[in-house]
Homo-oligomer: 300 residues x 2
């Protein structure tokens, strides 16, 4: 049962699932029924809402509509919960999160809300530029991000600070940094970089030298693989202190020098009144505090 107009429900399901077939499965309809509803909605609004493809994606007009629909669905889910447990289960809450948060402190918050309230989550792993877009177009309800600038219509809350340390395998340190990191060694030692937007390693280098270095580099966009590559001696990199603790205690990795970088993290979410959102915000703040983020400063 849904309080949404069937055309809106079909439209939203196509974008959720990425295909007309997926939407049909979810709503227990045929793909052709889904297609008719979406087309009828497009006729009514005089706009193409869904770019058919693999996956199907929202057009600009569709994104605008989706944002409204997502808010309606959240309120609907709560309204239904108040009346009765929604048949077919409650709806998944879409959230974006940066990869290092997901790899460290983030999940216990979701697990607690799932256990306590049966909430479901649709998690997207995105860098901050992309998560701002997802917030803007209503694909996600909130995002954990290093970006303090509020997206229009959103509230920003500081969660705490993630500390990064430069580290490598003991053999790598002995070979490349016998006298610690300096301009010469940092210019030669292979570097691990998460992706094109990861500037942490370069920020660390600039603290040590003003020379413009171009060390050889690998790109490895997975937190777990990043640490594994460090342990395998492929390069040095900046990794979250909380992820380094175990490998350092086991002697698989060690810090390079005494440097570190602190990255503040934020929870951006839509400014709407919703019990689920309030629970999520509280759970994320608690998990951030317990899971290794350093305390937010007084300004938060």
């Amino acid at each position: 049962m849904s309080l949404l107009h069937p055309q809106l429900a079909a439209f939203a399901a196509v974008l959720d699932e990425g295909s007309f077939e997926g939407a049909a499965r979810r709503l227990s309809l045929t793909p052709s029924a889904i297609s008719q509803r979406v087309r009828a909605l497009e006729d009514r609004l005089g706009q193409v809402l869904v770019r058919r493809g693999s996956p199907c994606q929202a057009t600009a007009a569709g994104r605008q509509l989706l944002r409204n629909v997502q808010q309606m669905r959240l309120l609907e889910a709560e309204a239904l919960q108040d009346v009765a447990r929604a048949p077919g289960g409650p709806r998944a809450i879409a959230i974006a999160v940066n990869a290092d948060s997901l790899a460290t402190w983030f999940l216990p918050a979701l697990a607690a809300l799932h256990a306590g309230h049966g909430l479901l989550f649709d998690v997207r792993v995105e860098d901050q530029d992309h998560s701002a877009r997802l917030l803007r177009d209503g694909t996600v309800l909130g995002a954990v991000t290093a970006d303090a600038r509020p997206v229009q219509g959103c509230t920003v809350r500081r969660l705490g600070t993630m500390r990064y340390l430069p580290a490598a395998s003991p053999g790598f340190v002995a070979r490349h940094f016998p006298a610690g990191p300096d301009a010469a060694s940092l210019g030669r030692a292979p570097l691990l970089v998460f992706n094109r937007k990861d500037a942490l390693q370069e920020r660390f280098i600039r603290r040590i030298t003003r020379a413009r270095l171009a060390p050889p580099r690998h790109y490895l966009p997975s937190p777990a693989a990043f640490l594994e590559a460090m342990a395998l001696g492929m390069g040095w990199g900046m990794a979250p202190e909380s992820m380094l603790r175990g490998p350092m205690a086991r002697g698989e990795l060690r810090a390079i020098g005494a440097g570190r970088l602190d990255v503040p993290l934020y929870w951006q979410h839509w400014s709407i009144r919703s019990a689920a959102l309030a629970q999520l915000t509280a759970a994320l703040r608690a998990a951030a505090a317990q899971g290794g983020l350093r305390a937010a400063r007084a300004q938060s």
Copy 2:
């Protein structure tokens, strides 16, 4: 007619023919036009590419460029940018890999090639649809994928089979599957799904029941987070046997019933002659065999 940039076409023709005069003949230009184009290319890249002589030969930088000429036919602009970005230094080899391979057997191959030959890697984590596009447009040189259909211009090699088991936390199994998985329990128990393209859970369900089930579901697109969410009791899911071994031995996870799914994995790469590519292919096959992929069948 060549799709190469005229400067690249002139450069390649000089090396093919061994002289500026021969290149001029082949391209129906004057030797001085050929010479201007080669010099303009060298200026753009900041490298001497051709050692003038009888015959003309490629310098080290020129050999590197020549090796990639086939890719540049499709991607000349990006390829030129790549070469220009890495003056002198070795170029990173761009590869796409599916997330579960990166989380299990993949990295030791790259670490061995880095240690032995100083190769650098630009790794992209992509599902198979996206990696086919990256292969087609030349962004990556090769891809580990579950897709056996060769991309045009590519060679496909079977690496082995990744086995997936359905698993959950012991508490979750006791609560949702006291009598094993059946249509009733599978219809109610919360499900973990990697992303919209992850059909493994549904394939497993279809083996047990023909009923069309719509269980509540989370989406969690990170292999490590997927296992953590299972251990935290958020749902059951299909995970690689090799990732489950540790958590199962520690009692954090257990299998649901005796079912399993075997997913064949392939290495698709450009059909070009390249020493680095040959080394990479050999290293990946070895790592796949050692790292838990089941042996490829005779047809591979």
